[in-house]
Structure formats: structure tokens, C-alpha cells
């Protein structure tokens, strides 16, 4: 990503680069029986992902299930150890650090999970859930814990008086706020938000989105925002990376990805996404319908992984893997991995 593209009201271009992800790979081995012998195969969940994240910025990782976006998030927070590649946090490669050395970095890199029901321990009070990381990292003096917990609850829009309640006394949206408070407790510099709102109803989803936006603005926390919903990502992220079968197929500033997408997959995703204009009865100018399902990451297609569903595919797509690179006509910072990349402008209906 280039430094020259900075959408308005986002992190300044001279901000420090917090995270540099370089050629990150996660290959899960699977064992399959074949007669008396056994074959070893790998699921290429993530296969060579690179991007940068600056302080206070927000990067969206978008894609359908199985594209590797969540696995990427888990590797960055080192809940998974990558097969190869680098995760540079302020210059230190944390991809292979041992648990002991990793600890200070764990504080800096927090994760918020999708499911607010299963990610909170039902037998612990909210106060306990939020103060555990405080104690683990020695961030608060004895006796001051409750005050800090209440401050955090207030920060995420919950009643500080409710610190003694259990997760089951809260609704889905409120639980997600508790999860966010837990992540905030250690004052992280980066939050990986893994589908933080997709389990929530639309009216509640907007509340949580606004909360995350406030946190970013007020506390300057940088976000890697993982989602399948292009609308949510558009609202939250200044740069967007679109993933397909373990690879980034297109990456760039939000305005470019949504306004002039170059990769056929991005175009198809945008075309399939609901839009207020179409909701309110303005027919979209063009509809792209992909055929078939995402192929298995065990035996991904040769060359371009999207070619089996792509209407532009030609022979070269099967033999030569397209590189993620800027095209002559692209704005700086905008790259697409396609032999036939060309911008399409009319995918989202004009609403004015």
C-alpha cells in the first residue's frame, strides 16, 4: 500500500506503520486414508497475504466464508502460528515468537470475536471478564480494578452498575459491547475485529458500528476489520482488501474499491450486495451473477484461483498466476490480481 493515498478524515499519512504483514501463509495439514497408506494434504487457508496497517487506520478484510480472512486475523493475534511469513509489529517479527516473548505484544493486539454468545465465559461476571486481562498484564493497582471496569463499561455504552451481572443477562449487542470492553481494557494499539456485528440485528449492528467508530476516533486505535458484509466495511474502513481462497485479489483505498473495482470478483461481490438504492426500488444498472461455489482450498485451481467462476477467464488464467499489482490506469495504492483487470464504475446504484 502506498503512503500517498489517504482518504479524508482518516489517519494522517505520516502516521507510524504499526503492522506489516508479509507473505503470510497458513497451511493446515489434513490426513486422508487411502487404502492401507495415508496421504497428507494441506488446506491452503491463507496463501501469501501482505498488507500494512498504520496507527489509527482501519483496514477491511472482505470475502466469503473460507477465504481465509478469519484465519489471517487469528494469525495476526497469534492465536494461530503461521506456516510461514512475517508479522512485523513496529518492526519486530512476532510470527514465530514464543509465548513468553509474545506477552507484551498480546497486550497491543486484541481481538473481538463474532459470536457474542460463545466468546464470553458464562460463569464469570462482567467485572471478572473485563478485569482478568488487567490483572494478567498488571495494568491496574489492587483496589482500583472496579473503578477501571466501570469506566470501561461506560465507555462502551453499558451501565457501569451492571458490572456484577453475568453474560446471560445481556442481549447480543450488549454482549458484543462487553467483548469490546475486554479488548479495550489493556489499551491496545490494534484491534482485530472478526465479524464483530454479523451476529447482530440490523438496528443493533448500527449501534455497535458507531461505538467502534468512536473508539477509533477518540482513542486512535487501529483496526483490522474482518467482515463478509461490504456495506459494513465501507462504513468503517479506509482501505479494503478483498480475499478469495486464501489470497488477496484486490486491495486499495475504499473509494477505489467501491467506486472503480478492477477485479471481477470484487465486481461480483459489489453487484450482489444490497444497496439502499435497489432496496428503494431503483434497479441496478448491471447485475453480475457468479455460477457455482467457491472451490475447495485443498486443491485450489491452478493459476488464478478465481478463474473457475470468472466470466473473463482465458487460457492464461489457468497457467499463470496473476500478481497483485497496480495497473497503469490505477490510482496509487490500488492493486488487483487479475490478467484482465479493468475498472467498472456503475455497480452501485446512484442514490441521490
Amino acid at each position: 500500500m502506498s503512503d500517498t493515498v489517504r482518504p479524508i478524515d482518516q489517519a494522517p499519512s505520516n502516521a507510524e506503520t504499526l503492522l506489516q504483514i508479509r507473505d503470510l501463509k497458513m497451511h493446515f495439514p489434513i490426513k486422508e486414508a487411502a487404502g492401507l497408506a495415508r496421504t497428507k494434504k494441506v488446506v491452503q487457508a491463507v496463501d501469501g497475504v501482505s498488507f500494512d496497517l498504520k496507527a489509527g487506520a482501519s483496514l477491511g478484510l472482505v470475502g466469503e466464508s473460507g477465504c481465509g480472512k478469519s484465519t489471517t486475523g487469528r494469525m495476526i493475534t497469534r492465536l494461530l502460528t503461521p506456516t510461514s511469513g512475517q508479522i512485523l509489529f513496529k518492526g519486530t517479527d512476532i510470527a514465530r515468537l514464543k509465548e513468553k516473548d509474545l506477552r507484551p505484544f498480546r497486550r497491543q493486539l486484541q481481538i473481538v470475536f463474532q459470536d457474542p454468545y460463545s466468546s464470553l465465559n458464562p460463569r464469570q461476571t462482567v467485572s471478572n471478564i473485563i478485569s482478568t486481562p488487567l490483572r494478567v498484564h498488571n495494568l491496574v493497582k489492587k483496589g482500583k480494578e472496579l473503578a477501571r471496569v466501570q469506566e470501561l463499561l461506560e465507555r462502551v455504552g453499558l451501565n457501569p452498575e451492571h458490572h456484577n451481572r453475568y453474560p446471560n443477562e445481556f442481549s447480543g449487542g450488549q454482549r458484543q459491547r462487553i467483548g469490546i470492553a475486554r479488548a479495550l481494557a489493556v489499551e491496545p494499539e490494534v484491534i482485530i475485529a472478526d465479524e464483530p456485528v454479523s451476529a447482530l440485528d440490523v438496528s443493533i449492528q448500527a449501534q455497535v458500528m458507531n461505538l467502534l467508530e468512536d473508539l477509533r476516533r477518540d482513542l486512535g486505535i487501529a483496526f483490522v476489520f474482518i467482515a463478509h458484509d461490504l456495506g459494513v466495511v465501507r462504513h468503517f474502513c479506509d482501505t479494503v482488501a478483498v480475499m478469495y481462497l486464501g489470497k488477496i485479489v484486490e486491495q486499495g483505498p475504499r473509494e477505489q474499491i467501491y467506486g472503480a473495482p478492477q477485479h471481477p470478483y470484487t465486481q461480483a461481490l459489489l453487484s450482489a450486495a444490497p444497496d439502499l438504492g435497489t432496496i428503494r426500488g431503483i434497479p441496478p444498472k448491471e447485475r453480475i451473477r457468479l455460477v457455482g461455489d467457491v472451490p475447495s482450498p485443498i486443491d485450489p485451481p491452478s493459476g488464478c484461483r478465481f478463474r473457475t467462476r470468472c466470466w473473463k477467464a482465458e487460457d492464461i488464467c489457468a497457467t499463470q498466476e496473476p500478481l497483485l499489482e497496480g495497473k497503469p490506469q490505477s490510482t496509487p495504492g490500488h492493486a488487483a490480481a487479475c490478467h484482465f483487470a479493468e475498472p467498472k464504475l456503475d455497480l452501485t446504484a446512484a442514490t441521490a
Partner: protein, 384 residues
């Protein structure tokens, strides 16, 4: 089966059936009454499914959960009604009632559900079984959990056919293969003998649709049919449902929380909140000219791919507990417009479902006097 409805209602029904819309002749009052009774679909066509004053209550240890309160709607053949709402709005519960799938020991259902004239509320289980899966079928949200993991896909679809047809297994298999082909599953003969876990998500939902349509039902209830699917696959499934409806001419009740899906599929739209219908009309009425603050709130809180980089406008607060609904309008604790209604009506009187412009078939449940101008001057500019 006899119809236990009062005579005047019956008249209203037969009148619509015989005379066709004739809206202008009858005048607004008649239309309103029929609308409230669910006898008229927003299109004015003769309905196949008529739900009138449906109430579903679940007695629990904590009290009675009022999941659906006085819901009325109707769907003619060949049309799609989308029931929109958030979790707990009663949209799924009401459709499960249409299928007769609530456990009678754990639920209390009153009102009327008429399918092609037959009353389903109170129908003996033995008769209900003959209707279920035959005249009316259901496509569920999560095809992964809704298919039996231990039976082959083919067997499960053939079973649905065999329950309602006295034919040999071979005939049922032939029919199943036809259906698999029809819903776009390649290589049906091989797929027939595969188990659900060998199917992809999209293929599983196609198989569910094949199962739902195998008996050529007149009414299909699709409960969040694409929610568990990826967006590019979702579009395929919606296209498939649309095409199949054209071919089979069935009525569809589509239950969803996703207004994008509504826009793709629906002819008519019913918005539910806390177990009640709060707005009902054609898709154009409800989506392009909504007349209820909750519908506005829903539209305003959707993050879209085209909207400007503006802050989302969520609906404040949380949906009410169904154990203890607020008095007056259920939406009043979250409604930003309630101060504009004189007195305390929003908190004391439950608004009726009334035509938005004094007549016509677009109705909403709201005391606000000048909904049209508020929408035009305040809400619409915010939508961009």
C-alpha cells in the same frame, strides 16, 4: 373442513373472490375492514393464504411470552410476501404456526389461518400432516442443520414425495432426480446418493428447495433462506426461487431480516415489531414510501455499499421483552418521534393498523399525524 368464520367475513371473502378488486366502487371503509381482517392482499388479488388475527403465546415459567399478537395478512398465488423483522419480532413464530409446527402442549394459538379455504387452526394433527409438505412446504434458514446428517440427500427428498404420494420408490427416485436437476444441482444421479456433508452450502440449500418443491406446493414458506449463505451464492438462490415461482406459480412467504433480499424478491412487504404488524403494503409502498418510524429506522441503519461516509443512524435502545410488552405502541420506548404526538397517546393507546393515506391498501400502525411529510422532509434526505 368447514370454515368457522362469521358470515359477514365470509361475504367479504366471496365478494373479493367473485368481483375481483373493484376497489374504487367499494370505498375506503370496506377495504380497511377487509384489510384488517387480512382478506385483502395489498395487490387486491384473491388470496390463497389468509391469516387473520393470529396470536401465538408460549406459557413459560417466567410468564406468558406473547410472540405474535393479532397478525393478519394474505398472499395470493404467484405472489411473494416478505415478512421483515428482527429477532424476536415473531416473524418465524407466525410462519411456524402456518405450518402447524408449534407443539400444542407448549403454545396457545388463536385466530384463523386459512389455506385455500381450509381452516388450519384447530385442525386435527392427522389432517394437518396431509397438508404439511404437500400444499404448503417450508425452506429453512440453515441447510446444514436442517438436513438430516445420517441420510442421503436423495433419500430425504424422496421421503418427502413418498409421504404424500402412493407410488413406488423408483417413481419417487425419478421425481427426486428431476427436482435436483430443476434446482440446478449438476449430476443428480451421483448427488442423489451423497450425504449432506458432501454438499457445499449453496448446493445444500438447492437440495432443501428441491425438497420443499417436490410435491408442487401452492404455498412455500422460506424462512431466511439465504442468511447462512455467502453473498454471491445468495444471489443464485434468490434467482432460483424467483424462477421457480414463475414456473410453479406458488405463493411464497419469505421471512427475512435483510431488506436487500426483500427488494430482490418481494411483491408485498409486512414489517413486524414485537409480535405485531407495524407496516404492510406492496414492496414499493413499504420500501420507497415507508410510513412508520420503525421502518424508517431499519432503512437508516443499514450500512450500504453506496452510501456516503456518514455515520450510521441506529435505532436507539433494545427490542422489548415479549414477556412484558410496553403499553401503547410497542415501539414507543425507541421511537424518536413520539414527542410529536399530542398527549401521551403513544404510551397509552396501541395504534391501529390504518391506511396511510386514509384509504388504500398500504397500512401502518402509528399515531404520527403527518407521516408523509416527515418522511419526505426529514427521513428521505438522511437516506441520501
Amino acid at each position: 373442513m368447514t370454515e368457522p368464520t362469521p358470515d359477514d367475513r365470509k361475504d367479504a371473502m366471496s365478494e373479493t373472490a367473485a368481483e375481483q378488486p373493484a376497489e374504487a366502487k367499494r370505498g375506503p371503509e370496506v377495504a380497511t375492514r377487509e384489510r384488517r381482517q387480512g382478506a385483502l392482499s395489498p395487490s387486491g388479488e384473491t388470496p390463497y393464504l389468509v391469516v387473520e388475527d393470529l396470536t401465538v403465546k408460549f406459557p413459560t415459567a417466567d410468564g406468558v411470552v406473547s410472540a405474535v399478537n393479532g397478525l393478519s395478512y394474505s398472499v395470493p398465488l404467484g405472489r411473494t410476501l416478505a415478512i421483515v423483522g428482527e429477532s424476536g419480532s415473531g416473524k418465524s413464530v407466525s410462519s411456524m404456526a402456518v405450518m402447524g409446527l408449534h407443539d400444542p402442549r407448549r403454545s396457545k394459538i388463536t385466530g384463523s389461518i386459512r389455506l385455500g379455504g381450509d381452516e388450519l387452526v384447530g385442525m386435527p394433527e392427522a389432517d394437518l400432516m396431509k397438508v404439511r409438505g404437500d400444499a404448503v412446504s417450508m425452506v429453512f434458514q440453515d441447510p446444514q442443520s436442517s438436513l438430516h446428517p445420517l441420510y442421503t440427500v436423495g433419500k430425504q427428498i424422496a421421503e418427502a414425495y413418498l409421504v404424500h404420494h402412493k407410488v413406488s420408490k423408483e417413481v419417487a427416485k425419478k421425481r427426486t432426480l428431476e427436482m435436483l436437476d430443476l434446482v440446478g444441482i449438476p449430476n443428480p444421479a451421483r448427488r442423489f446418493n451423497q450425504y449432506p456433508h458432501e454438499f457445499s452450502g449453496g448446493m445444500r440449500q438447492r437440495a432443501m428447495i428441491a425438497m420443499g418443491l417436490v410435491n408442487d406446493p401452492k404455498l412455500v414458506i422460506a424462512d431466511e433462506p439465504t442468511t447462512a449463505l455467502d453473498v454471491t451464492v445468495q444471489a443464485q438462490i434468490l434467482d432460483l426461487l424467483n424462477n421457480l415461482q414463475k414456473e410453479f406459480g406458488s405463493a411464497i412467504v419469505l421471512i427475512t431480516h435483510d431488506l436487500g433480499v426483500v427488494a430482490e424478491m418481494a411483491d408485498d412487504v409486512l414489517v413486524m415489531y414485537a409480535g405485531r404488524c407495524v407496516e404492510y403494503g406492496t414492496a414499493e409502498d413499504v420500501l420507497a414510501n415507508p410510513r412508520m418510524p420503525y421502518t424508517w429506522g431499519l432503512l437508516e441503519s443499514i450500512p450500504t455499499v453506496s452510501a456516503a461516509n456518514e455515520r450510521l443512524r441506529p435505532i436507539k435502545g433494545l427490542p422489548p421483552s415479549l414477556l412484558n410488552l410496553p403499553s401503547g405502541c410497542s415501539f414507543n420506548p425507541r421511537c424518536p418521534y413520539k414527542d410529536r404526538v399530542k398527549g401521551e397517546r403513544c404510551t397509552t393507546d396501541l395504534p391501529e393498523l390504518l391506511p396511510v393515506d386514509g384509504a388504500g391498501l398500504h397500512t401502518s400502525r402509528c399515531h404520527l399525524p403527518d407521516k408523509a411529510s416527515i418522511y419526505e422532509t426529514e427521513v428521505l434526505p438522511r437516506l441520501g
